[in-house]
């Protein structure tokens, strides 16, 4: 019996390492330990073994079974490992470029706009939107721009023919002309006409000027305006907002300064300068970044707010200009060419 068991183990040890697949393995396993397997056959001979030898033979058989099972397990583990290895193929060359396109990129104007909106949301401004096709009322009349003001001239503003009809752009005055908005201030008017103060909005958007396209001018560009209407809003609050915005955007050492100026829809009005020493490609200590002021009482009257009760401020700036300053871009036309070599630089 012992010899038979030894021979069986030796045979298995010789045969199993050559087995390379699961079906072969299953067949081999059946040959040894299956119902008709060789080891099973030897175990069946136990009945013929004299009673006094049985414990010794039993022990031998058990030892052989343990050994054989271990060999079979090892074989199966080897096959499983080989199967996984076969799925792998050769190791990757991680230095090859990805054949897939991408990653995608946000346009720099989107990046700057969203950054401004994030900064303003932190101090309670929500983003408002309004139509780009506007009417004379929302773009000019309500903003204290007299009817013979040069900004309203056909030389400077895009108009639509009298026959044009814009189904979802409401007119305030019957038969007033449609035009392309020259500033996003029309959103302020629409927002104020929609409901009572307090109001705290930021309105980024496209605006249009009838202008020659060159390095600093574009027939359409983007503005971003803030409007805050509440009780007791002061010049000091306005200055605080601008200090906060630009410190958030450019670092806490950034300073702003106000220069008195004139706009029809604010009083007092200011132009805003930014300390520019740390901006790329700017060689001046201060650079103009936008206009602002306290909302003119005439504007409040136009939207039905009582100027004795409500006060407010407005601030506006060009998004392209801001992006140009932030990124050191020197030609506005890059924004509208969408050359991928440009777009990929900012994301």
């Amino acid at each position: 019996m012992q010899d038979q068991l030894s021979a069986l183990l030796a045979k298995a040890a010789a045969e199993l390492p050559a087995i390379a697949s699961r079906p072969e393995f299953e067949a081999a396993k059946a040959r040894y330990v299956g119902p008709h397997g060789e080891l099973t056959g030897l175990m069946k001979q136990m009945g013929a073994v004299p009673k006094e030898q049985r414990p010794a033979v039993g022990k031998l058989i058990n030892e052989a079974k343990t050994q054989l099972t271990a060999q079979l397990d090892a074989t199966l583990a080897r096959i499983a490992h080989a199967e996984l290895a076969a799925q792998l193929g050769p190791p990757v060359d991680a230095t090859l470029p990805s054949p897939d396109p991408g990653p995608g990129t946000c346009h720099p104007l989107t990046l700057v706009r969203e950054e401004m909106c994030r900064i303003l949301r932190k101090v309670g401004f929500v983003v408002a939107d309004g139509p780009e096709v506007e009417t004379e009322y929302y773009c000019f009349d309500a903003l204290n721009t007299p009817s013979d003001h040069p900004a309203r001239d056909e030389k400077d503003t895009f108009y639509f023919p009298a026959s044009a009809r814009f189904g979802n752009v409401s007119r305030k005055v019957p038969d007033e002309k449609y035009l392309l908005r020259t500033h996003t201030s029309s959103v302020q008017i629409r927002t104020m006409l929609k409901g009572p103060p307090p109001i705290r909005i930021v309105s980024p958007g496209r605006v249009y000027r009838r202008d020659t396209t060159d390095a600093t001018h574009s027939a359409n560009f983007h503005q971003l305006e803030c409007l805050y209407v509440d009780r007791n809003v002061t010049v000091r609050d306005l200055k605080a907002l601008l200090d906060y915005i630009f410190a958030s955007l450019l670092g806490k050492d950034t300073k702003t300064r106000f220069r008195p100026h004139y706009f029809g829809y604010t009083e007092p009005s200011f132009e805003v300068d930014l300390s520019a020493t740390h901006l790329p490609k700017v060689k001046k200590p201060w650079i103009e970044i936008g206009g602002c002021g306290m909302v003119d009482p005439t504007v409040f009257e136009a939207v039905g707010y009582d100027p004795a009760v409500w006060s407010g401020y407005a601030f506006g700036m060009g998004l392209e200009r801001l992006a140009m300053l932030l990124y050191g871009i020197d030609d506005i036309r890059y924004f509208y060419q969408n050359d991928l070599r440009f777009l990929k630089q900012f994301a």
Binding site: P131, D153, T234
Partner: protein, 822 residues
């Protein structure tokens, strides 16, 4: 406007530095666009010298070796010079060693090509005098040798180019700016003192033969017209001081009469005009509207055709001036003029502006009238001009003098309290400082009284001078106080930040979601112009709708129409990148598009993207090319961002030859009449080729009305789903090639539901294979479906599912033309 510092000093004793004055102008609210120095800058060690000898440099053809006598400044020097005009006898400026020329150019003793040189003879540009670099500056006259340059040359001037805001026409003058600076620096202001005050001098001749009458027929356009006669003048060049003044601010001196007119306009802001009295037909002046078609040749030599809306100054026969804008060619002052009529008038701003615009003719005069000239100070300017004409051209004032209109008195008072100003500013400015600001700006406080609560400060009644028509409410005085107090002194503060009052606009939220999605799927976001050329939009919109998108006044042909789609702009972007050899496949954009709805145009929020077949780009590993289903997949996600379940939308074939979308390879969904619409598929191959774009381009676009986005989105409710195992069956159907899979699927769902009844549920019926070709008849295709059955509460048995599956097959055979592929 150009403002001369020397000129300002006639009225206000400014001794601040140029930088301080520049800063003052800036913080008074006027942008200083440039500061320009005339004359020589302050230079040390630059003196007058005379060239004694000139010899050729032994080692350089183009250089000379000169001896130069600088007198007491150092005797005779040897100087190497490269100028062509360093000839003996000339007096020139010599920069001596130790001197520094503009641009921090230090002069030292040196050797030039082996020849010692003891200084430098200077060209005008080297001295900071501008001009071409063309030889040495040769000094006229014979200033003493060794005289420092700043003693030898007339003192220079500083000229500020200032942008005057439209609310401040009073500052379109040196007096106006001087008034502001006097207020800023707290200095006295000296107005010119006129000798002539309108009254004719004793014994003045009454020359009705020169000017018999002045008639204003259009007083609504001309609130003031005055005319004065000066006889016996001699037209000639202006004196040097007058010429200097005009030249400093960029005007060319012409003759004493014209120059005085310009001088007084630049001093006071009041335009003036002088006629040769002999050239006024009938010796009368009529201020009237022109007749339609009436003509005048203006000073610039061009014939202008007038209309009845334009105001003219006419004599008995014809217009002689386009009122307030430009004089006629043949009525003005000429070299032989001896008697003149001086006009000083005020015209209505709107009238001048309209005429100027219509004629395309503007002047310094029209610029001031358009912005507003103060009629209450006009006559002062006329008197000033008379004084200066007498001073520079001789002659005497004669009668009669005419003043028509100008009789509306000026009175404006604003009551403002300390409290009101403080509330608007948000910080304390002492009442005394506020009061001082008013005084400095000649805003006379006629009354000061304490408000009822003394702690709240005084109330002032402020009398507004006639030239400050821009001030008429208390808020306007807040700005005046702040200007003089100084905007740089606004104290810092933290932002008061209560919570959000509302949500971001739904359009903004939509744009963010779709841009995030597309950028996250490797698209590059683009921004294209909204205005497109007619030819570009033609393939994308019906001709009638395209006409509605046209601007009335496009600036350039390439930007004449609103865009009806974002796709055409993205194609241009693709084309630009391809033409520059930049590989690009995925582009996207969000923005407004303008669509036709029931005969009107509607402004919509939109998103579009395109996926181009990679061309020319070689890759070591091939990827599958994009196709229709690539864009359909993305469109699904974009529609979801707008709350639209795209899978449930019926699709309509789109595209026809000559249009943007390729027939048979593109579809549309939705309808803008119901709030949204989508288009997707292959861009017309011929269009793409015509654009010069290589490879096929797939695109998708989704547009939605802003008001539809704004509508409240109903919140989704949870639907219970079964925890039991599913039972699966596959079924292949042979159908006509043209039959859409969606139709077959819908039929199959209906039949399956009928077969199942209420016993359990058909969970899904989905196409998993499409086959055509070998083994199938021509014109047929096979669609294989996977049917999933499930019960909410138990495991389904094979028997019951088989029964249902047989029923489905039976009803397919009975009620549809589809063949079951066995």
């Amino acid at each position: 406007m150009k403002i001369s510092l020397n000129w300002l000093r006639d009225y206000v004793p400014l001794d601040a530095s140029v930088e301080e004055i520049s800063r003052a102008i800036t913080f008074l609210g006027f942008e200083v666009e440039s500061v320009h120095q005339t004359g020589a800058p302050r230079l040390e060690q630059v003196v007058v010298g005379e060239i004694l000898t000139r010899a050729r440099h032994p080692n350089a053809d183009k250089l000379s070796v000169c001896t130069v006598d600088v007198g007491p400044a150092g005797g005779v020097k040897t100087i190497v010079c490269g100028a062509h005009n360093c000839d003996p006898g000339h007096r020139v400026f010599v920069a001596l060693p130790g001197g520094v020329l503009p641009g921090n150019f230090q002069i030292k003793q040196s050797k030039i090509r082996g020849q010692a040189s003891d200084g430098m003879m200077c060209a005008p540009d080297e001295l900071g005098l501008g001009g071409e670099h063309d030889g040495l500056l040769l000094i006229e006259g014979k200033p003493a040798l060794g005289t420092p340059i700043n003693d030898a040359l007339p003192p220079g001037d500083t000229v500020f180019d200032i942008e005057i805001t439209p609310n401040r026409p009073d500052c379109l003058s040196h007096l106006g700016i001087a008034r502001e600076l006097a207020a800023w620096f707290k200095l006295p202001l000296a107005y010119p003192q006129e000798k002539f005050r309108g009254a004719l001098p004793d014994g003045a001749a009454e020359r009705r033969d020169l000017l018999a009458s002045v008639r204003v027929e259009a007083p609504e356009d001309c609130p003031l017209y005055s005319a004065f006669v000066v006889t016996g003048i001699k037209v000639g060049p202006s004196p040097a001081w007058l010429q200097e003044r005009l030249k400093a601010v960029g005007l060319r001196p012409i003759n004493n009469v014209v120059d005085v007119g310009n001088y007084v306009m630049l001093e006071t802001g009041q335009p003036l005009h002088a006629f040769d009295a002999r050239k006024l037909a009938g010796h009368e002046i009529v201020v009237r509207r022109a007749a339609d078609g009436e003509k005048i040749v203006t000073l610039d030599g061009r014939e202008r055709t007038l209309t009845s809306r334009m105001l003219v100054i006419a004599d008995a026969q014809r217009p002689v001036v386009v009122a307030g804008i430009m004089g006629g060619e043949d009525s003005g002052v000429s070299a032989d003029t001896t008697d003149l009529v001086l006009e000083c008038a005020c015209f209505k701003r709107q009238s001048i502006r309209a005429t100027s615009r219509q004629l395309g003719l503007a002047s310094d005069s029209s610029y001031r009238y358009e912005r507003g000239v103060d009629p209450h100070t006009s006559l002062e300017a006329a008197y000033r001009a008379v004084d200066l004409i007498l001073e520079t051209a001789g002659g005497q004032v004669a009668g009669p003098a005419f003043v028509v209109g100008g009789d509306v008195p000026w009175l404006r008072e604003i009551v403002v309290t300390h409290d009101f100003i403080t509330d608007r500013l948000g910080f304390d400015v002492p009442a005394a400082d506020m009061r001082a600001a008013f005084d400095a700006l000649e805003l006379t406080v006629t009354r000061e009284e304490e408000t009822k609560e003394p702690a709240r400060g005084p109330a002032w009644t402020v009398s507004i001078p006639s030239w400050r028509d821009d001030l008429d409410r208390p808020i306007d005085l807040v700005e005046e106080v702040l200007r003089l107090y100084g905007t740089e002194k606004i104290p810092a503060d933290v932002v008061r930040a209560p919570g959000l009052l509302a949500e971001d606009d739904p359009i903004v939220a939509f744009n963010r979601r779709v841009t995030d999605y597309l950028v996250g799927h490797d698209f590059h976001e683009c921004v294209n112009y909204t205005l497109r050329p007619a030819r570009e939009i033609a393939p994308w919109v019906e001709a009638a709708a395209a006409r509605e998108l046209a601007l009335a006044n496009p600036f350039v042909e390439d930007q004449s129409h609103l865009r009806p789609t974002l796709v055409s702009g993205l194609l241009e972007t693709l084309k630009l990148n391809q033409s520059r050899g930049v590989s690009v496949s995925r582009l996207c954009e969000t923005g407004r598009v303008f669509l036709e709805r029931k005969g009107q145009t509607v402004e919509c929020a939109a998103v579009a993207f395109l996926v181009a077949e990679p061309t020319g780009e070689r890759s070591w590993l091939k990827r599958e090319s994009p196709d229709f289903h690539t864009v359909k997949h993305h469109l699904h996600a974009l529609a979801a961002a707008a709350g639209v379940d795209f899978a449930r939308q019926p699709l309509v074939a789109t595209g026809s030859p000559g249009h943007g979308w390729q027939e048979g390879h593109s579809v549309g969904a939705g309808d803008i009449a119901y709030g949204w619409c989508a288009r997707l598929g292959l861009v017309d191959l011929a269009l793409v080729r015509a654009l010069g774009i290589e490879g096929r381009v797939y695109a998708g676009t989704f547009a939605i009305l802003p008001e539809r986005l704004a509508a409240d989105v109903t919140r989704r409710r949870f639907t219970e789903f079964s925890q039991m195992p599913a039972a699966l069956r596959d079924l292949a159907l042979v159908v006509d090639t043209a039959t859409p899979a969606g139709d077959v699927q819908k039929t199959l769902v209906k039949l399956a539901r009928a077969a199942v009844g209420t016993a359990f549920a058909v969970e899904s019926v989905a196409v998993f294979d499409l086959y055509a070709g070998k083994g199938l008849p021509e014109g047929k295709k096979s669609l294989a479906f996977n049917l999933v059955f499930r019960s909410p509460e138990r495991t389904l048995t094979d028997e019951e599912v088989n029964l249902v599956f047989q029923r489905i097959q039976a009803s397919l055979e009975q009620s549809t033309p589809y063949l079951i592929r066995k």
